[in-house]
Assembly symmetry: C2
Homo-oligomer: 317 residues x 2
């Protein structure tokens, strides 16, 4: 597939994801000009300073004027409103995509506002860090990450092909699926883990002060990973849960049933139930490693990123 | 504090923790001779090959004979039995400690079997990886990690002091607290996070096959961390939950209440409740970083250990 090339790209929102995409596109020579749209002046100034864009504006209709690619990178809840606001400036031939974590709702909210809804392709690069804002952006964010595109029945195949080529050029592995299927898979791989992390860290916040201060000291055993996850952007995650309500509630239901079963096994001392589950989950780790989403590692303690868990006794007597 | 020095150290169990402690003590010149005790011949042979010990035996009483330090590194559930088995060979002046993740039960089970119970000091180095067995051992495992000692009222202060010096020499930061307090802090920092991870990964195992295979592909968004945690040693973790039952059940109860409140907020679209919690938990991440248990990082995609989460839109429009 040949390299896509866009004369003018409008980045609506210029935080971690759109900022990183701007850098990556620039490095790959994919964009003639990049225009960023951000409501806050501070964000626009910073985006310009960091070289994430050539021009910045607060007006979505102004931002998209003359663009042949528009990338929506604002919180999902704001996307309908943003699409409506930019529509007057939009070239009817422009491809419009987004980079949000929920898809069914985005497709439903954005398409009606566009001159040609067939040119909207929902997108979700499964990449990120717990940091947000333009300063968090870096050009290699998408390398070896997955990106999911969610065309619907009447989406223009040429637009999909151009976006596939774009994401592949910045290093991502691209898959396509329906918006509904996307939301269900992400509910369990991402939304539920985040909710558990938020909940546990919140539970700690309610503990008496003495225990709490020690929790921070002894965080190495699993809790550190959870605090990192629970430090993710609050606005974005509120919107994820509100906008993927159905799939998330289904997964919470399944999770609670399973947790209650373990709670019961612990209360009644049913070690075999615990052992069987823990053995099954260890096998799943191997499947994830085989699928290329994780790497075997042996922490080197010189490495500040080595935050090992699973502490304790593993003797072989 | 001067360096502790032991003529002969008996490592009862020679997996990740005891193996790493053996290497670290050897490198620091803290041990004259190291004798390992393991039931399986394969483990003994491997420990000798890897230089984790000078001699290996299957008999606990034989292993501890002539030792001035005994480190119990077998699963907590086996410790009472091991203490009973080694007692006939034990020098009444030997210091006995352990490296397990639960403490109340260990103190209760081990002390009665010892000639001088005042020389038993419960210990828990909060360090580890998801790997187990002698091959997983490495000498820097404890550097900059916490180690908790849990002396009780009549524990010999000189024995505690020698163990503090030992752990500090191999790089750990040592705290002391009661066994009961230890178990409560660890229930929330370690045991509950592990239980959540095991549960979520188990929930995935029950999903229909098509969703499951995609879960592995899109694991980057939080789920990868959970699979790593849920790959921890099944035997050890079964014993942790069974032997820290009371504190774990209390924390599960609190967690479930909090999760149900979030479930309700999602169902009824109460975004302010979600946003408030997610903002509070972000602040806790900062407390954990300040307490030195985590490090700010910006993933470099060349780094196989960078497994970022919190994917999605964080635009600042």
């Amino acid at each position: 597939m040949s390299r896509p090339s866009f004369q003018r790209v409008a980045m609506i929102g210029i935080g971690l994801i759109n900022g990183s995409l701007a850098l990556a596109m620039r490095e790959a020579g994919l964009a003639g000009e990049i225009v960023a749209c951000a409501r806050r002046e501070e964000t626009r100034a910073r985006a310009l300073e960091l070289g994430l864009c050539d021009r910045a504006t607060a007006d979505p209709a102004d931002a998209v004027r003359g663009a042949d690619l528009v990338v929506l990178g604002t919180p999902p809840a704001a996307l309908g409103e943003v699409a409506r606001a930019m529509a007057p400036g939009l070239d009817p031939a422009a491809i419009v995509t987004d980079v949000g974590s929920v898809k069914t709702m985005v497709v439903r909210e954005v398409r009606p506002h566009l001159p040609d809804p067939r040119l909207f392709v929902g997108g979700h690069p499964v990449a990120g860090t717990e940091h947000s804002g333009p300063d968090a952006a870096f050009g290699t964010l998408f390398q070896n990450r997955r990106c999911i595109l969610t065309p619907v029945e009447d989406t223009d195949p040429a637009a999909v092909a151009k976006l596939v080529a774009l994401w592949e050029t910045v290093g991502a592995k691209v898959d396509t699926m329906t918006p509904e299927h996307h939301d269900r898979v992400l509910a369990i791989t991402s939304h539920l883990p985040h909710l558990c992390a938020y909940t546990i860290v919140g539970t700690v916040a309610d503990l008496e002060e003495q225990v709490q201060s020690e929790v921070f000291k002894y965080a190495a055993g699993g809790f550190t990973d959870f605090t990192r996850i629970a430090a993710s952007d609050p606005t974005m995650w509120r919107d994820v849960f509100l906008n993927n309500q159905e799939a998330v509630l289904e997964m919470i239901g399944r999770f609670m049933e399973d947790l209650v079963a373990l709670q019961r096994a612990i209360r009644w001392g049913q070690g075999d139930i615990l052992f069987d589950l823990f053995t099954r989950t260890r096998a799943i780790r191997r499947s994830v490693i085989q699928a290329g989403q994780a790497y075997e590692r042996k922490p080197q303690l010189k490495d500040p990123e080595g935050e090992p868990d699973g502490e304790g006794v593993t003797g072989q007597l």
